[in-house]
Structure formats: structure tokens, C-alpha cells
Symmetry: C2
């Protein structure tokens, strides 16, 4: 028997295999925080054709069942079957392109001029066995051996030594002691295990994005990334953006639901990684977490409520090195978790991680760092000063609030070119095939092309009658980008969509210009722009300049950084010096609260224009539009 | 309706009251770790007469049911009823005699020249509320306020600040911070609560005896003991002495059972105390635990297995200040628990507590400290040195292994005088009434009287025919101390009993003489003897000397100290200086392992005689026995 995917990939199936286990064997992992017991309801797949037997439908709704959804772990094909895997069900383990990028991380870490210095370190101890005359207790014996190595203070939490007596005797008094050195708490033991035990000391670098969760499994002794995994943040089912999540968190039980969702995402990835590489999860003793302020609070089960209430003060900006068991991570319960410091309610640890990863604070060069994802954050500065702000761009570049919007995943229109004569568009779709919607970079392309070809004016309004593709939509005029008779729905961009995008790009640009002005500088002082986030991968700089979203400075000054949050998490997992540097970056960052800034409001209004009311700021665009 | 107890106390009963709740209302507390839900099976009482309805018999065995036992919480009298309360079911809360003794504890603490300095302290903090310009996070705000008071480092575990944001806002930014100052871990927050909240900061002093558990509830701000409670250590059902408990602990699941048993005992007492005094258990933020090495290990769920295996090394001699939630105590989960340091496998924290409570290490006077309970421990020394040993006296003074032996509880013969002419005994029974058995002090009395009256010889053998009361017993000759036709069984002391007691007293005496000899001193160098433990309360010094159990030195040098373990626990709950002193005592104590000492074996054999083979050591006894 075989399973055929919508991608036309074909997977062989043994009798009595569930769809879940057949896919897993073929290296296609599904989200299943229950481990495939039918209780978490996350491993949904859609059966398009073929007979099957389902042991249970778990928590699936009647509507979901009607649409053909089944739980992969509870469903057993009776013959060849064809299925579709919703992207939310997919756990990406060992993404080859992404892994290839991690090959250079050890070198990148070393390029900072620091050595490997993970925050959970190990040391070997060979203790003399007790005798009637050398009769001190086990812990005192351990402490004496430490003192002989010059270590005179070490805290021992209960969990770190609960099994010590047995371990020492079984290991013939030759053990490894894993411990942390924490600036706040001093030295503390994490675990004691036999020196003879196989396996290294491992750690996780984790990026908790509002939309996606990425995990790197790294060997703390070599710094190498062994494998990576990613999935959608399951919190999405409670809302797309941080505000709806905060609202949900402040409702009865909501905080725990959100925490459980993201922790189970990380655990599902981790469980798959350790299984794939036959690693004892107890040997993963450290995790480094980067996420925005809301994500970090929810991860630790801390109330994020005050984040959205004046004066927008989070409970924690810096996080102690709490234990993995407190977080609920499925690694060594005594393993410690480093959480990136946050700057303010809307500028979080992901940005500190990104700034660290960009090295902008190590150079005299004036740089702009921007991470435009579900939220938009920017930082401007160099090795002497750094200012930061949240742009409140809103999630429309991620597809939210846009009629045909979607995330930058397969099926999304990522690029649009409009013929200046026929005014017909040609498009490029991520992953090829028929488009399902349009993602952020596609939207920016479309708007800039519509502006260049005169389909819209500088206010973002359609010039009606200019093209057959402009039509009356339900709520406002719209331009048809793609139409296919087989599809129920055309892919369009409406005037209301464009208004939303104008507000978003204005927020980004005016955030940048406010910070630059606050610093007493002009836009062209920016010598380098680091573009981070998934969005950055597909962004066409020229077109983003054309719509006035980013400064009109030479394109060679722009550098795409990819996911800087996970890079920063990796760096701090492995280097004490870089953790200190992250703390220093956080303490140096001056946060500007744009929501109460008069200057920002003025800048914002000026930026609600294509590209801007002050065309002097966009000389290259003025030239292209042939404006005076 | 009414309940009549065997003590003839009468308790009124409302309709639909369970026996449990009627007794509780009358101030008679039963052990019920489930809170009276019928699941723990501990609140057994025996119905002697009267009709009742039982909702359930829980875990009672068929045999128990047949004997009239019911669960008090599940049993509802239908008419007047007469019951007996087994001592194991009884929780003693607010024992008036014991409480009266605690009145002087604050003065006693002060007599050490130290102030109140509990290990969980509180400080008041008034924080400025956050504003748009003063926009640091809550924890940084708290840390800033601490820094203003000169406190620049404080650790914050997750539990101590999980609800911080809400608390700060509800308390209008005016809060109390409870924290510890730990020599190992530095300063750490315990809890944050509104300054306006009612109630003080409370702590528990706990003595975990092998047989009984005693809890003092103290006000940490005044040092006063608010109330006390005690109960039998429920571990008894797994064995009477530490060895059987250790064996049980090393069998599957046994350790957890033992831990749960004693923790639920402490919790049952604590729950009753807080209910009686309307105290929020979250305001109990500290506990100080004294127990022997095995009890301390089991309390923390640590494997005590190595304690009984050569070379008898426990896992822990000193215990970090772990959290109440780790122990499972029903107080503030973040509250910290101080555990007395232990010296060796068989000289534990209860002895360190006792030595501290005796003040013997504060004086030049050479003192002997002895605690003869289920186990026997001794210490000899002064302010310059101190030696200690475990006597392995065995539990026979507690009634175990003695035909008619019992603990020193109501019904026990505590004193015996034998008429030198008629050779008939007169007895005194604890609590009056007919005797149920004989306790340690009664046994010592009986042996010394039998020796004085020539019923036994110096080897402990009966001179047959000497008295009608000497008869052939099942296994050996025996002396009938009490006979009552209504009783099924006479109360006797057999030759085998006497052999056991001789071994026990020889172990105690030879332990003392070994330590004295090791120190290069003679018995009469001992200037002061502190007798601790429940046993001490009833001990007749003269008679204990007569049988050669304790040194033949003037009686005025003996001081009865009562339960020094709980006194020490109280002292360390309230004074940092005394915790340091306890640590110093523990580090100064030289432990002598008697089980491998040749000298001890020689001394022991010499002491298996009444009073001793070397009569020069017992001049006063020689005089009374009119020996040459």
C-alpha cells in the first residue's frame, strides 16, 4: 500500500501502520505532543481519496471530520490513499536547506573572538570511596573534591542530588558534575552522572516566534548543531498576534493553555530530535530561549496582562536561569533555561538576540536593525549607543487582515511584476503551482508595480477605468492579480488592503525616522541595514523603498540576516561572554515608546503616502516616478 | 446523642455528625491526612458499644473490622456510643502541659545572647508605580528598590515571583518581601505579599522522631510558640526502628511510602494548627527540621540505603535550604526548610539539636549528653572538643523485643518497687488505672529492685525458688509483676527480657566509657549529664546507676532536658547565630564508630553484668549491694 501526498510524494505503507507512523518512517514528522496516542488532536491530515479505518477522531469537530480531516495517529489506510498535510500539522525536522546554513555557526561564534563557554558546563570528579576513617557523607565528599579543584561554593538543589548516592556507588565514585555559573545565584549543580556514561552534554537553542517555533539541538562540547526542527506555534489557535494572545492569557485558564501549547511544540520537536539521533533527553541540560516579551512571559507561565495596559510594563525584563522542569521542557528536569532579556513590552529578547547576531553594537558604523514579522521592531545605533522601538506594523505583512493574504509559505505569491503596457501581472509562487494567496513581499511588489504603472495614485487609490483588472469588490475597488476558473475565488488586492498596507509601511518608516531624528541624525547617515525575520528572505529592497517602507539609501547597504533570533539563541547557549554581551546590549538600549510620541504621529501621517509626502527623502523614487 | 470515651470523657454529638467531626469540635483531633475523606484510613477508632452507620470502611482489613474498628470520619452514630481511641489515631493538638513548657522558650533563646533572626525574614518595600518614562519591568523595579536599601543581589526562583505582577498592582506597589540569607546560595526571595495583608510571618519547628512527630507553630516576629501538636510517626506501620525503615525504603516504592507517611503526619498537625488559629498556611514560610540521619533522608526522599551498609556513609550530612514544596509540606510552597546537619549514619541532626539545646559546648564543664530513645546516642565534651557515638542500644527501652514491653504512654508501668521481705512489687502506672505493659523506666526499676532483693543475680539470672512470683515462662523463667484475673495475660519480665535489657544497658554504658577513655579521661571527670528524650522524663537515675546503665556519679550532676530535638529545632528556626552554632557543633563533633572498635567490644562485655564486672566503677552500688 502507499500514501500519496498532494506534493505527489509517495510513501510506502506496511499493513497495520498508521498514517502517522508511516509518515514518520519516511522522515515526515507531524505535530503530536501526546506522542501519537490520539489525545492531543494535533496530527490532522486530510484524506482526499482512499479507504481507511479510524480508531478515533479525538477532539476533531464535526465540521473538521466532514471536510475529510482525520488524526494521522489513529487512522489506518485499507488501500492506497491520497492525503494532504495541513502546514500546521507539520513538524519540520532536519530541514536540509536550514541545516546547511548552521554549518558555519561554530565559525560565526568564533568570529566574535570568544571560546565555547556554555552556561551548563561539566567537570570530571574522581572521589576516594568512603571508609570507616574517611567517613564524611556523599555530598561533603563531593564538596571536598570540588574544594581541591579550587571551587569552594556550589549550591545543590534537591533534584540535582536526589539520586547522588546511587550514582556515585554505581559509577565507582568517578562522575561528571554538570553545573552552572550564574551571575545572580552563583554556582549551582545541575546533575551528576557516571563519567563512563555515553553521550555528550547537549543544549537547545529555541526561537519562540509568534508564528513559528524553531529548535536547534547543539553539542555543547563542540558547538556543532546536530539537527534542527521547526513547527508552527500552536498558540495560533488562540489568535494570530500577541494582543489576542495576551487577551486570551488573562482569561480563566488561558495562560496555562498558551504556555502548554508552546511548550508542547518545543517538546514535540525535541522528542523527535532525540529519537532520531538516539540521544538521552537527560543529557540535554541547557536551553537558550529567544522570544518577544509576550512569548517569554507565556513560556514561563507569567501573566503578560500588564504588557497591553498603560504604561505597558512587563513583569520581567530579565529572567533568572530557571529550571527546565519549571518550564515543563522534556529535557533534564534540572537543566537550566536561559531566556534573553527583554527591553520593553513590545521589544523583546528576540530583538536583543538579533542585535547580538548582527554585531551592529561591535562597530562604529551606524546601523539600522529591523525585524518585520508578525510584529515590527527596529533598532538604530552602533558600538556607542542604541535606540529601539516597536513599530506596531500589525500582522498584515504576515497575511492577516488582507483579503487574500497568507504567510510566506508554499502557495503564496511572493513576487508580482505588472506589464506597463497591458497592465497584466506576472507572478512567482513559493513552491510553484497555482497560488493560494499573497504574502508580504508579494503585496509590496504589487503595490509598487501598481504605483509605477499608474494603477494606483500616491494615496493608494485606484484610478478607475485604467485597467480591466480593476473591479468593484465587496467593500472597495480591487485589482485582480490571479484568476483561475477552477478556483472558487480570485486573488485580488483591494483598496482597503492597500490602506492597511500603507498604515503598516508608514508605521515602519515613521518608526525609523523618529528614532533617527531623536538621535539628531538624517536618514542617509545609516551606513548599514540588517533585515531580519522570515519576511526578509523574500523582500525586494527596491520595491520596499519604492512604497516608502524603508529608507531610500543604496541597496548595497542592506544585508539579509534570516532568523537572527535563533542565531542569537545559539550564540548565548554556547558563550558566557555573549550572554554578558546580550545583557549589556539590553541595558544600553534606549526604548522609545512611539505610541505616545508626538513626533511619531507627525512622521506617521507624512508616511501615509506612496512613498512619502516629503519626496526629498526618496530621491531615487522621485526619479523613477518622474516627479519634478 | 453522646460519645463516651474509655477515659469516661463524654462528648455531645449533633445529628449527622461523624465521630471524627464531633471529636474535632471537642478538641480531640485524629490523624487524617486526607482531611476526613475516608481515603487515608488513619482515623481508626474502636466502637465498644452503640449503633452506628458507616459510609465506608476504607482500607480497614477484615480483621480490623471484626475487632470493632471503624473510620471515625466515615462513621455516624445512631444513638449513644462508646468508643476507644487507639493512640496511633490520636493527634495531640495544644497539649496544655507541653505548651506551658514552651512559655519560657523566648527567654531561653535570649539566654544564648542572640536576637530574633529567623532564616526567612521580611522587609517592607514601597515602589514607585511605573510610568511611561519610568518604564522598567516589575522585577527590575523591585531590584532597584532593594539596591536603594543596600541589597544588590537577590535570587528570584520562579515560584517566588510567578504572581508578582498581580500582587504589586493589587497592593498599590507597597509589599512585604520575604527572603532568606543562605550561606551557600546567598539571598533568595521567598514570597511577595501586600503589606496590608493581615497575619504575621510564621514558622514550624519540627522534631521527626522515629516514634513521634512534634510540631511547634511559632511567630517569627516575636519568637512565641503559638501552639504545638504531636502524633505518632505513621512510618511505624512499616517497622519500629530505623533499620526496618531503611530496609523498607530500599524496596520498590518504599521510600516514597515512608516519606509520604511522615510528611502527611506533619501536614495533618499543621493543618489542624492553622485551622484552630485561623492562620493562612501561605504565611508559614519557614520550617526547621530535626531528626536522625535516616529520618532526615526519608523526609527529603533521599535513599537511606547506604546508612546500613559498610562503611555506613549517608548521602547527606548537611542539607541545603530546600523548598517546602520539594518536601511536600502544606505551607507556603516557596517557604524554606532548614534541616539540622547530621554527624554520621547513626548520629543525626536530633543530637546536634540536643547538644545545642543543652549549651554543653558553651561551657568549660565536661558534660555527657545522652538521648536514649528508639536509638541511643551520646556525646561527651565541652566548649573545646566534643566526641559522639551511637550506642545501638536497640529499641527495647521503647518496649520492642520485651514480652510485655510498651512505650511510655498511659497504661505503662513506669515505676516498680519490690518489698525486700515479701518480694511483692508495688507499681505506678502512667495515667493511673490497670497497667497494659511496662515501659523503659519500669523495666530499669524492676531489674534494679530484683537485683537489690536478690531475685536475680549480677548476671541477671533468676534465683529459682526465691519467690512465688518466679515461674517458668514459655521460653525462660519470668517474674510476675502484675496479675489481674480480668486480664488475659499477666505482666511479667522474663530472663530473656533481662538479657535483652542487659545488652541494651551495656551498649549505653560501654559507649560512654569508650568515649571517656578515648578522651583520656575517667568517668568521674564528667561534671554534668544531660538526659534527653521522652525516656528521660521517667528515668530514675539511682536505679539506672544501680543496673550499670549510666555512670555512678552524684545524682545532682544529672539534668533532665526533655525533648531537646524540638527545642533545638525551635532555636534554629529563630536564630541565624544558633544555626551557625549548630553547624559549628556538627563540624567539631568527632564521630567514633563503635561497631568496629575493639575497645568498645571489651567495654561492652565487661558491662554485661549488674552493674559491671569492675565494681570499682560503681562504688555507690557496691555499697548498697554490700559487696566487699
Amino acid at each position: 500500500m502507499e500514501i500519496r501526498l498532494t506534493s505527489n510524494e509517495v510513501i510506502q505503507l506496511r499493513k497495520d501502520d498508521s498514517i502517522f507512523s508511516a509518515l514518520k518512517e519516511a522522515g515526515i514528522y507531524l505535530v503530536a505532543s501526546c506522542g501519537g496516542k490520539g489525545t492531543c488532536g494535533k496530527c490532522k491530515v486530510k484524506v482526499i481519496e482512499g479507504n481507511f479505518e479510524a480508531d478515533s477522531y479525538g477532539k476533531l469537530t464535526g465540521e473538521e471530520k466532514k471536510s475529510g480531516l482525520v488524526l494521522a495517529c489513529q487512522t489506518f489506510p485499507l488501500a492506497d490513499i491520497r492525503i494532504a498535510i495541513p502546514k500546521e500539522s507539520r513538524l519540520v525536522i532536519g530541514d536540509k536547506i536550514a541545516i546547511s546554513k548552521t554549518k558555519d555557526l561554530v565559525a560565526y561564534l568564533k568570529s566574535y573572538g570568544v571560546g565555547l563557554n556554555p552556561f551548563v558546563r561539566t567537570m570530571s570528579l574522581k572521589l576516594p570511596p568512603p571508609t570507616i576513617t574517611d567517613n564524611i557523607g556523599d555530598l561533603d565528599r563531593l564538596k571536598r573534591a570540588l574544594a581541591e579543584q579550587g571551587i569552594n561554593s556550589m549550591g545543590f538543589r534537591h533534584g540535582s542530588i536526589a539520586a547522588m548516592g546511587k550514582t556515585l556507588r554505581e559509577a565507582d565514585w568517578t562522575v561528571e558534575l554538570a553545573y552552572i555559573e550564574d551571575p545572580d545565584d552563583g554556582r549551582e549543580a545541575v546533575s551528576i552522572y557516571p563519567s563512563a556514561q555515553e553521550g555528550s552534554n547537549y543544549g537547545l537553542a529555541v526561537d519562540i516566534g509568534t508564528t513559528t517555533v524553531v529548535v536547534y539541538l547543539a553539542d555543547l562540547k563542540t558547538g556543532e548543531v546536530i539537527d534542527i526542527g521547526s513547527t508552527y506555534n500552536s498558540q495560533i489557535r488562540f489568535g494570530d498576534d500577541v494582543i489576542t494572545r495576551i487577551v486570551h492569557a488573562t482569561e480563566g485558564g488561558g495562560l496555562q493553555e498558551l504556555k502548554d501549547a508552546v511548550v508542547s511544540d518545543i517538546n514535540t520537536i525535541t522528542d523527535s530530535l532525540v529519537e532520531k539521533h538516539s540521544i538521552d533527553p537527560a543529557m540535554i541540560q541547557a536551553a537558550s530561549i529567544a522570544g518577544n516579551t509576550t512569548m517569554a512571559h507565556i513560556f514561563w507561565g507569567l501573566d503578560p496582562g500588564s504588557i497591553r495596559e498603560m504604561p505597558y510594563i512587563p513583569e520581567l525584563n530579565s529572567f533568572p536561569l530557571w529550571r527546565a522542569s519549571t518550564a515543563g521542557l522534556s529535557i533534564n528536569p534540572e537543566g537550566r533555561v536561559y531566556t534573553f532579556p527583554c527591553i520593553a513590552s513590545y521589544v523583546g529578547g528576540d530583538i536583543v538576540a538579533g542585535v547580538l547576531a548582527s554585531k551592529m553594537t561591535r562597530s562604529e558604523e551606524l546601523a539600522l536593525f529591523m525585524d518585520i514579522g508578525t510584529n515590527g521592531e527596529i533598532a538604530i545605533g552602533n558600538n556607542e549607543w542604541i535606540m529601539t522601538a516597536a513599530c506596531s506594523a500589525g500582522p498584515c505583512f504576515e497575511g492577516s487582515g488582507i483579503k487574500c493574504g497568507m504567510r510566506a509559505t508554499p502557495g503564496a505569491i511572493e513576487s508580482v511584476i505588472i506589464d506597463p503596457v497591458t497592465l497584466d501581472p506576472s507572478i512567482r509562487v513559493i513552491g510553484g503551482g497555482s497560488p493560494l494567496g499573497i504574502c508580504g513581499s508579494g503585496m509590496i511588489d504589487a503595490i509598487s508595480e501598481m504605483l509605477l504603472t499608474g494603477i494606483i495614485d500616491q494615496k493608494g487609490k485606484f484610478l478607475e477605468g485604467k485597467s480591466d483588472r480593476i473591479r468593484r469588490g465587496e467593500d472597495s475597488p480591487e485589482y485582480v492579480i490571479f484568476s483561475d476558473r477552477r478556483l472558487e475565488k480570485d486573488i485580488v488586492l483591494s483598496e482597503i488592503d492597500i490602506e492597511n498596507l500603507l498604515r503598516a509601511k508608514a508605521a515602519v518608516y515613521s518608526g525609523i525616522s523618529t528614532l533617527i531624528t531623536e538621535a539628531g541624525l538624517a536618514m542617509d547617515a545609516i551606513e548599514r541595514v540588517y533585515v531580519a525575520g522570515g519576511f526578509g528572505n523574500y523582500l525586494n529592497i527596491g520595491k520596499a523603498v519604492l512604497i516608502g517602507m524603508i529608507p531610500d539609501i543604496p541597496e548595497e547597504r542592506y544585508t539579509f540576516m534570516g532568523n537572527t533570533s535563533i542565531t542569537g539563541a545559539y550564540l548565548c547557549l554556547l558563550s558566557k561572554e555573549l550572554r554578558n554581551e546580550a545583557a549589556e546590549i539590553a541595558s544600553k538600549m534606549t526604548y522609545v515608546e512611539l505610541s505616545v510620541s508626538k513626533m511619531f504621529m507627525d512622521e506617521y501621517v507624512s508616511a501615509l503616502f506612496l512613498p512619502h509626502t516629503n519626496m526629498n527623502l526618496f530621491p531615487s523614487v522621485a526619479a523613477r516616478l518622474m516627479l519634478p
